[in-house]
């Protein structure tokens, strides 16, 4: 999870209170990723325990100011350069649904693919709508929206490719031998 690192990054500008960290996190991710203040304090507590931030002031947590330590700065620099996990989850729900559909005699797999395609594009329309309504120079929001849009577009491309592959199958839809196989292609999960 990248919230601790986002907080470390915000603290590298100087010491801040928890509430301010929450506000800055939300505004810099284009407010697409809400973060509640409780999450901010639990994360800060953990960072402090690990020696990555230090707090000053006492009493209530809302009155404390947090500062990044040198260990925190090093940890942040390492994290920025570490590649994220790109290996897909072992079972992609959408791939499994389509493989299962292929087993069922008489089912219109093309129609199932289309139902998913429509749904994914509707979600994309919502992200694009947010981007369209925002100021053109709101770069953080555009970056967040694009990340989701390209991820979703990859799903549409997989659906299109699946459609094209299925066209080459002889009709009526045969049951594939050997049951449901593990997906081998890196695709994204439809939540």
């Amino acid at each position: 999870m990248s919230v601790p690192y986002a907080l470390l990054a915000l603290l590298s500008e100087g010491p801040k209170h928890g509430l301010r960290l929450q506000n800055e996190f939300e505004s810099r991710t284009g407010e697409v990723w809400p973060l509640n203040v409780g999450q901010v304090y639990t994360t800060l507590q953990r960072l402090e325990r690990d020696g990555l931030v230090a707090s000053e002031g006492d009493g209530e947590r809302s009155r404390k100011r947090y500062a990044i330590t040198s260990a925190g700065s090093e940890e942040l620099a390492d994290w920025l350069r570490t590649p994220p996990e790109l290996v897909p989850p072992p079972r992609d729900e959408l791939v499994i649904k389509v493989l299962v559909a292929l087993q069922i005699p008489g089912i219109d797999v093309g129609e199932i693919l289309q139902a998913h395609r429509r749904h994914v594009i509707e979600v994309m329309q919502r992200y694009t709508h947010i981007k369209a309504e925002a100021a053109e120079d709101d770069v953080p929001l555009a970056l967040v929206a694009d990340a989701e849009l390209f991820r979703l577009e990859a799903i549409v491309r997989w659906l299109d490719a699946a459609d094209a592959r299925l066209k080459h199958l002889p009709a009526p839809t045969p049951a594939a031998p050997g049951g449901v196989a593990e997906p081998t292609r890196p695709t994204e999960v439809a939540r």
């Binding site: 139902a115 509707e122 979600v123 994309m124 329309q125 694009t128 947010i130 849009l149 577009e153």
Partner: protein, 240 residues
């Protein structure tokens, strides 16, 4: 209310006998002013045929095409050409700007062909270039413009005057994603000013700029998106 574009049971068959190809079958589609509709589908699904028929560049084998309430079958060939010049703007993937004409001359050409005086055409053309943020390039020839600028000029030519219908065939195909997005932003802005827009694309990233996405498959309209819920539900979806 009269739709800017209405297709009623439109079919298009090419060839005859065993080589017959059904490019479009019983297509119903209405597009209102202020609305941007994207048409998606695999190659050969009839997307481009739909656009050329909607733009009266081709006639349907059966069914009716109404542009702002006028049935194209009820008017003469020359009236159709006039309606096409006055009411419909086209944007193509490869821009189709005339190389020997400057940006402003390309934009004013349809107006002058339609009898508008040169001076008035010039003024209207400059306004259109201004809307698309390329007015300062008005005197340049197409080969002196970047890809993104050429497409802006092509869109200016498509919306100049009082066109009510904007038809675009893969208008972002030759552009990178950000220039493509800029084009979709402009098409969307044009529809917000009251034009009806239809854009054919196979890219979901660009189709998602449309208010409605219509899916074509083997010449049939098989599906379309429904009105998208507001952004609140998206924020909830992003909470993870």
């Amino acid at each position: 209310m009269t739709s800017a574009l209405e297709l009623r049971h439109v079919s298009k068959v090419y060839g005859s006998g065993p080589s017959e190809v059904h490019a479009l079958s019983e297509v119903d589609l209405s597009v209102e002013r202020g609305e941007l509709v994207a048409v998606m589908g695999p190659s050969g699904s009839g997307k481009s045929t739909l656009l050329t028929i909607a733009g009266s560049l081709e006639e349907p084998s059966s069914g009716h095409v109404l542009v702002e309430g006028t049935d194209l079958a009820d008017i003469s060939r020359s009236d159709r050409a006039k309606l096409r010049r006055r009411s419909i703007g086209f944007v193509f993937q490869d821009f189709n700007l005339l190389p020997g004409l400057t940006a402003i001359e390309n934009v004013t050409l349809p107006l002058e062909l339609d009898g508008t005086r040169a001076k008035a055409a010039q003024e209207t053309g400059l306004n259109a270039l201004e809307e698309l943020d390329v007015a300062e390039r008005a005197g340049r020839f197409p080969d002196e413009l970047s890809g993104g600028e050429r497409q802006r000029v092509a869109i200016a030519r498509a919306i100049v005057g009082r066109r009510g219908l904007l038809l675009a065939d893969e208008p972002t195909g030759a552009l990178d994603s950000l220039n493509g997005e800029a084009v979709m932003r402009l098409l969307r802005a044009a529809t917000r000013r009251g034009v009806a827009g239809v854009v054919v694309t196979h890219e979901a990233y660009l189709a998602s700029w449309a208010d409605r996405v219509v899916f074509l498959r083997d010449g049939y309209v098989v599906d379309q998106t429904h009105a998208a819920p507001g952004p609140e539900s998206l924020l909830a979806a992003g909470d993870r």
